[in-house]
Amino acid sequence: MVKYVLKRTLYMILVFLLITFMCFVLIRMLPLPVLPPEDVHTKIVMMRREALGYNKPYLEQFGIFLRNVLTRWDWGLSEKLYYGQDVWSIFVQKLPASMVVNLYSIIWTIPVGIALGIFAALKKNTWVDYAISTLTMVVISVPAFVYAFLIQYLLCYKLQWFPFLMKGGTDWFSWPMFVSMVPAILSLSFGTIAGFARTTRAELTEVLTSEFMLLARTKGLTKTQATVRHALRNCFVVIVPAIFGQFIGILGGSLIIEGIFGIPGVGGLTLNAINGLDYNIFILTTCFYTAIGLAAGLVVDISYGFIDPRIRMGSKK
């Protein structure tokens, strides 16, 4: 097991480096931004460009980039948006907003989603089940930003329950901050609830019809006992890894939702870096999103092995 985890992690790092290298080269190939001549930072940026080997072969540039990152955690300076500032420190400032909003969202959506799924599975083929399943399907289909528009229009503008945009400041866990986050949290929540409800329902209906459930009932357990002790445990084999995946995903934020509600998060930073062609920020966010994606996949895979002893990880098929 340890060996398998190590192997997978190493492989993930290798894939990560490959992707980073490809993106790095593609970004470095783009024409460099023209620096404002009067600004005090220009000289520093020019010197840094020299030090980073901007006129050397790409492989060497990548080597220098990696060395800087690994030895000094130096991701370079912003050359456009936040002129002359350290990219990593800008990024770290943006991280909490994304994380807090996503955290609030998944904290309540996962239980609700799972509960709905269980409810639907237990009431299979009744109107409750049909209602939940159809609603789930509908909610999953509609992109999150459509809800965001609706929520913003109805709750923020018509009813004026919440502010239009997220409050400024860094008091992430204060009450006014929470209230200003609610529209964004809600917009992010629908999809997650529906996703979990659907997975849970599908998994639980399958488990409920399996033979060990019959055995559990035959040996005298009540329906509740059998469901809680046997069915739920088995269906969590699929759900728990998905929860882990969600938790890693909270780092990323959402490009669109963050834009709509003015959340000063990673998504907005990425978008600004793309539109403003700030390459160093773009490289950093690219690495970040790649790492999140790969890590989520890895954690989901590995957690399967931990949760379900029947799955022998890394064994030959």
Binding site: V15, F16, L18, I19, M22, C23, L26, I27, M29, L30, N125, S133, T134, M137, V138, I140, S141, V142, P143, F145, V146, F149, L150, Q152, Y153, Y157, A202, T205, E206, T209, L255, I256, G259, I260, T270, L271, I274, N275, L277, F282, T286, Y289, T290, G293, L294
Partner: protein, 512 residues
């Protein structure tokens, strides 16, 4: 009688007869009509009510996308500079006065002065902007030491009529052409000029044609009528006005003011619009930020999205099928290497791919080409995985061995013998790839990472981002594209699910 049918113990011998005695038994032809795979699937599909409904809605949406740009009087390149974010208005429907498509916009708390101004527009243009009074509020206000009752009204206004007059500068030729058009059609566009000096120096209020006091409040004569202050300074217009004059004009009113080789006129925009476009404004769903007809724009955007999504899924299907077939058929080292390539490609975030492709390729192959490449770069991976799985399932089976024994080549085995077995799964998953492509495409165009305005005129994503800019003042501009997108996604997904269940009854799992 009852006894005869239930008394099996004593059945008389003469009731028995031989089925055959001295003849050979043959297999009989099937009496029932045989049902093919497709017909079977269709039967299963039609039993799934929600999918059937979804299919009808989908059909409607697709027809809408095809025909709305044709039906509409406008194209996606017809943008009006003034009718921006305007509500739905169709003259024919508005005339019926049933409360829809009448260009209505609610104005809250209009006081008496405001109401007078609306009346002035109605009197001059003959088009009453006030459609209906929704509420009347009466408040007691203390004014100069006395209690006065102030009445305010919540009214609905025809926003198109409310625009009223604008100042417009014409060249002499245009001015002449406009007069000729007026004489021909009898629709008055040019109204008498008003000199700002005559209305207390209020420039920029082309709708004021009456005497006002210092704070812009209309001054009425003793009968409660407006006092016109049309300019009579006819000198220097360059071109004589020889066309329709308003009632009460004794020929002394000036209809234009000279402005450096051109003339400035007070123009009734609603009629000027008819002069320019040849018809009255008619926007079934209203206009958006760009002054686009939403009815046409949504259709055109959706048409682009659909064609694009189908193109993407066809390309991805082809690449994925070949790639997955090679992976699945050869297995072993080939499979492993190809799988690693998939791992790397699928790890790159889509936003990054799109951005990089736009930055590198857009100049060479256009924004659309670069966007297409971005979709193709990673889109085929899931299709390849699907094909690979199917190949693993079928490649060990007897019919493949038989074909191989008969000397079939690898290629023939892959695509003549194994692939047809997997095609049902692949095609149906295509029905789910299309909506996800549309969704991603919409997000990218909404964010402005990809700008397809030059190529497609507009897309749903562009419409959404335009609509968002005025989400509070003109909610319809974001509502209609959102509803369309939502419906399209829901019906496509339901339809795709139904199709998948119908074609692969074994993989349903949901309702066994």
């Amino acid at each position: 009688m009852m006894n005869n049918t239930t008394n099996y113990d004593h059945i008389p011998a003469e009731r028995f007869a031989f089925v055959q005695e001295n003849e050979k038994l043959h297999d009989q032809d099937l009496q029932t009509k045989s049902r093919g795979f497709f017909a079977d699937a269709m039967l299963r599909f039609s039993k799934n009510k929600s999918s059937v409904i979804a299919a009808w809605i989908l059909l409607f949406l697709v027809l809408f996308a095809i025909f709305s740009p044709i039906i509409s009087r406008y194209s996606v390149y017809d943008t009006d500079k003034l009718y921006v974010n305007f509500p739905a208005y169709v003259p024919g429907v508005a005339a019926m006065n049933i409360g829809i498509m009448d260009g209505a916009k609610t104005f809250d708390s209009q006081n008496d002065t405001a109401m007078l101004k609306w009346r002035a527009i109605a009197e001059e243009t003959g088009m009453d902007p006030v459609l209906r009074v929704l509420n009347t509020h009466e408040t007691e206000v203390k004014y100069r030491g006395q209690m006065v009752t102030r009445t305010t009204y919540d009214i609905e206004v025809n926003y198109y009529f409310a625009t009223g007059m604008i100042y417009k500068t014409f060249s002499y030729d245009e001015y002449k052409a406009l007069q000729a058009w007026q004489n021909e059609t009898g629709i008055q566009v040019i109204y008498p000029y008003v000199d700002p000096a005559d209305i207390n120096g209020q420039t920029d209020t082309p709708n004021v044609w009456y005497q006002v006091d210092g704070s812009g409040v209309p001054v009425l004569d003793k009968d409660g009528n407006f006092i016109p202050v049309y300019s009579t300074n006819t000198s220097g217009t360059g071109v004589a006005y020889d066309s329709i004059r308003i009632d009460g004009d004794d020929g002394s009113y000036a209809y234009a003011s000279a402005k450096a080789g051109a003339v400035q006129c007070r123009v009734l925009y609603y009629n000027y619009y008819q002069y320019v476009n040849g018809h009255e404004p008619s926007y079934i769903l209203g206009t958006n930020l760009m002054g686009l007809d939403l009815f046409c724009a949504i259709g055109a955007g959706a048409r682009f999205s659909l064609i694009f999504a189908i193109l993407v899924s066809v390309i991805n299907l082809t690449i994925g099928a070949v790639y997955g077939a090679i992976q699945g058929y050869y297995g072993g080292a080939v499979d492993m290497i190809l799988d690693r390539i998939c791992d790397v490609l699928s790890g790159v975030p889509f936003v990054v791919v799109t951005t990089l492709f736009q930055l590198h390729l857009a100049a060479k192959v256009g924004a659309l080409g670069a966007f297409l490449f971005a979709f193709v770069l990673t889109g085929w991976i899931s299709m390849a995985a699907l094909t690979r799985k199917q190949f693993y399932r079928f490649k060990g089976q007897e019919f493949v061995m038989a074909a191989r024994t008969l000397g079939a080549s690898d290629w023939r085995l892959m695509f003549k013998h194994i692939f047809p077995n997997a095609i049902g799964t692949i095609i149906t998953s295509c029905a789910l790839v299309i909506p996800s492509t549309i969704s991603t495409e919409t997000q990218m165009t909404y964010l402005g990472i990809v700008n397809l305005r030059a190529f497609a005129g507009t897309t749903i994503g562009t419409l959404l981002s335009d609509g968002r800019a005025a989400a509070t003042s003109a909610p319809h501009a974001i509502l209609w594209p959102s509803i369309f997108l939502g419906l399209l996604m829901i019906s496509f997904n339901l339809f795709g699910n139904g199709l998948r269940d119908a074609f692969n009854p074994t993989t349903r799992g949901v309702d066994d």
